[in-house]
Symmetry: C2
Subunit: 87 residues, 2 copies
Amino acid sequence: MFVILVYDFEQKRVGRALKTCRKYLTWVQNSVFEGEIGEANLKKLKMELNKLMDKSTDSVIIYSFQSTKYSKREVLGVSKNSQEFIL
Amino acid sequence: MFVILVYDFEQKRVGRALKTCRKYLTWVQNSVFEGEIGEANLKKLKMELNKLMDKSTDSVIIYSFQSTKYSKREVLGVSKNSQEFIL
């Protein structure tokens, strides 16, 4: 499935959050990741983030899409990650 | 259609970007907006952001989905915007 993940971590944990997300998804912009990921890996990513975060201050939103049909991805201005994208 | 918008603006323009996006979408997290929006309003939002941004440093990514069938929205940790969401 295709996933968009956005997070908002306190400064002292954001480095580890970045490292964790980068193992599974592509960094596209400040605190934004995206990519194709399987159910098992998404489960692992969520477990690692849950362990790492302070649930009273940190926030992660995960949008998952079984299909990317009828969807579009558009960039205005500079593309912070020059990689080609599948959407 | 359902839209997720993420931006990365230089400090001096981020206030105006926030104000502009809030006219059309719901703020959900630091530099992340989402919501249902029509074609005409999306066009207006893009025009306003294009006018406001410095295209060599600022970045906006707009993911648009004609259908939110087979999709899911999940929050880990604190939900920065307590509003209920349609996804």
